[in-house]
């Protein structure tokens, strides 16, 4: 009997310990979860560059919201939005975004900022693309030389841009042995390209942030087709009633506000010598890069 009593005590004790363990995490989940939590679906580039680490604490302090940042590719971010699993998104895949809004999933799509894509590759440049002005022409040369090209292959904004460029160059790279898809984020794809001495398309922000470990050079830049444009979109709460519409709007408004745009303008200057993003709130897409 003594043993039995002890076993009961052990059970009770363990339940108590479990409760003690669970309690803080339940607390941290927020007191009014319906209003307080905002799920932000965004791209890896905004997180990997460190921009969100600067902006989100300011937003949270100002408004009292708690932002859950889920950094995935633009494709996956929009898939989350499409199911109402996110409240607001910050993405860079303009064609897919337009479709997203037309289909009624996203509302209030607003321009936030841009930077640009670059084609990078090994310094010895086997496909001789250095200095080529048009991105599509550079891709044609890579294909002609059958030089290794490393693709994201993950439906991200960068991957969407890359596919558009291949289309422009009238080449179908999929299945070619010089064309490899990683299915990884930008940072990891850059590492793969560096290890294999391949060409790849990258956003300038991530490239600059990782440059110290990446022995690849910028070979093509400045083409108008290489613009990388970020928009913020709120998820349509008429379609998904569980979406935190007020929080999403507050977040989007914060990103187009003067104060935030000023922070974006100077972000990265101290570390990289040049800004990583150019603020564009209120501008028109057609005027960018001029």
């Amino acid at each position: 009997m003594k043993n039995l009593r002890r076993s009961k005590l052990t059970v009770l004790f363990t339940i108590a310990v479990l409760l003690a363990f669970c309690a803080p995490s339940a607390d941290a989940a927020g007191k009014k979860p319906e209003q307080k939590n905002i799920i932000l679906a965004t791209t890896t580039s905004t997180q990997d560059s460190g921009l969100l680490d600067v902006l989100i604490p300011i937003f949270e302090k100002k408004t009292g919201y708690f932002v859950k940042t889920i950094a995935v590719g633009s494709g996956q971010a929009m898939a989350m939005g499409q199911k109402g699993e996110a409240d607001v998104m910050l993405v860079h895949s303009p064609d897919a975004e337009k479709k997203f809004v037309e289909e009624g999933y996203g509302v209030n799509r607003r321009l936030i900022m841009h930077n640009d894509f670059i084609i990078i590759g090994p310094a010895d440049d086997p496909a001789k693309i250095k200095g080529v002005k048009a991105a599509a022409e550079a891709l044609k040369r890579i294909a002609a030389a059958e030089a290794l090209f490393v693709s994201r292959g993950d439906n991200s904004g960068t991957h969407a841009k890359e596919k558009a460029l291949w289309k422009q160059a009238e080449i179908t790279p999929a299945g070619q042995k010089w064309y490899q898809e990683t299915g990884l984020g930008m940072g990891q794809t850059l590492n793969v390209a560096a290890e294999k001495k391949g060409y790849t398309l990258a956003d300038r922000g991530t490239y600059l942030a990782l440059k110290k470990n990446i022995p690849l050079d910028i070979l093509v830049e400045g083409d108008a087709s290489l613009l990388n444009i970020y928009h913020v979109m709120e998820i349509n709460s008429a379609k998904w009633p569980k979406v935190n519409a007020a929080g999403a709007k507050a977040f989007a408004d914060f990103f187009v506000s003067n104060e935030t745009q000023k922070i974006i303008e100077t972000f990265g200057v101290d570390k990289f010598g040049s800004p990583l993003f150019f603020p564009d709130a209120g501008k028109k897409v057609e005027d960018l890069g001029k």
Binding site: L4, F21, S25, A29, T44, G50, K212
Partner: protein, 232 residues
């Protein structure tokens, strides 16, 4: 090689300076995986013992399923839990996706079959006559189970170590259901992947070293308990 050295030095710096962010991440990893191990210990041991001690139709099938579960791929668990608890899922009303609670659930699902499988084997490994002996000494059924569990405490502690080791080093499910949110659901493994993506290899190695140290400390303590019991 230089990078690895830098990483180890950085890990040392972060540890001795009690870097608040790293401490927070480490503590959260310990809390989440510890809780998940506790939960899996309860479900795993009780079901494992029950299956081991009872004869019923389909017992071999059940044991095969449990043993298969010991190799459950974490990403599949992550995907499954995500679909259950996202807003449009059957448990969406709980609103726990991207919270530490969701990570505890996913990790418990991963660890439970491991603990269950090992405790099942442990009880089955006891001499079959032991049960009869205990019962013939006048013990009730519950007392008999308690004695058997105590007899197999060595492999049961091994089950705890295997379960804890499985979940603290797990990444697939944690990043899916936790979301790697800074200061909230970021644990050692998800932080390591993120820092690698950012190109902060030294910090990534440092986090990896801390993870190893943590796993070692826990296992060292458990082994101490285990071996002391044995020498008695």
């Amino acid at each position: 090689m230089e990078l690895i050295l830098q990483g180890i030095i950085k890990a040392f710096h972060l540890l001795v300076s009690f870097d608040p962010e790293v401490m927070g991440i480490t503590w959260l990893s310990l809390k989440i995986s510890g809780t998940a191990t506790f939960i899996s210990l309860f479900i795993g041991v009780s079901v494992g013992v029950a299956v081991a001690l009872n004869d019923f139709f389909g017992k071999r099938l059940v044991i095969s399923i449990i043993n298969t579960g010991m190799g459950l791929p974490p990403v599949v668990v992550g995907l499954f839990v995500t679909m259950m608890i996202w807003r449009s899922g059957p448990f969406g009303f709980l609103e726990i996706l991207y919270t530490p609670a969701a990570m505890i659930i996913a990790q418990s699902i991963i660890a439970t079959p491991i603990v269950m499988g090992i405790s099942l084997a442990a009880i089955q490994n006891l001499p079959p006559n032991l049960r009869l002996q205990i019962l013939s000494l006048g013990a009730s059924r519950l007392q008999m189970v308690w004695v058997l569990v105590k007899e197999s405490r060595l492999p049961l502690l091994a089950a705890v170590m295997a379960g804890f080791g499985g979940v603290i080093s797990e990444i697939g499910a944690s990043i899916m259901v936790g979301g790697n949110i800074k200061g909230y659901s970021r644990v050692l493994t998800t932080a390591t992947v993120m820092e690698t993506g950012k190109g902060n290899f030294d910090l990534a190695i440092a986090l990896g070293v801390i993870l190893l140290l943590l796993a070692f400390t826990i296992n060292f303590l458990l082994t101490q308990i285990q071996q002391r019991q044995q020498s008695r």
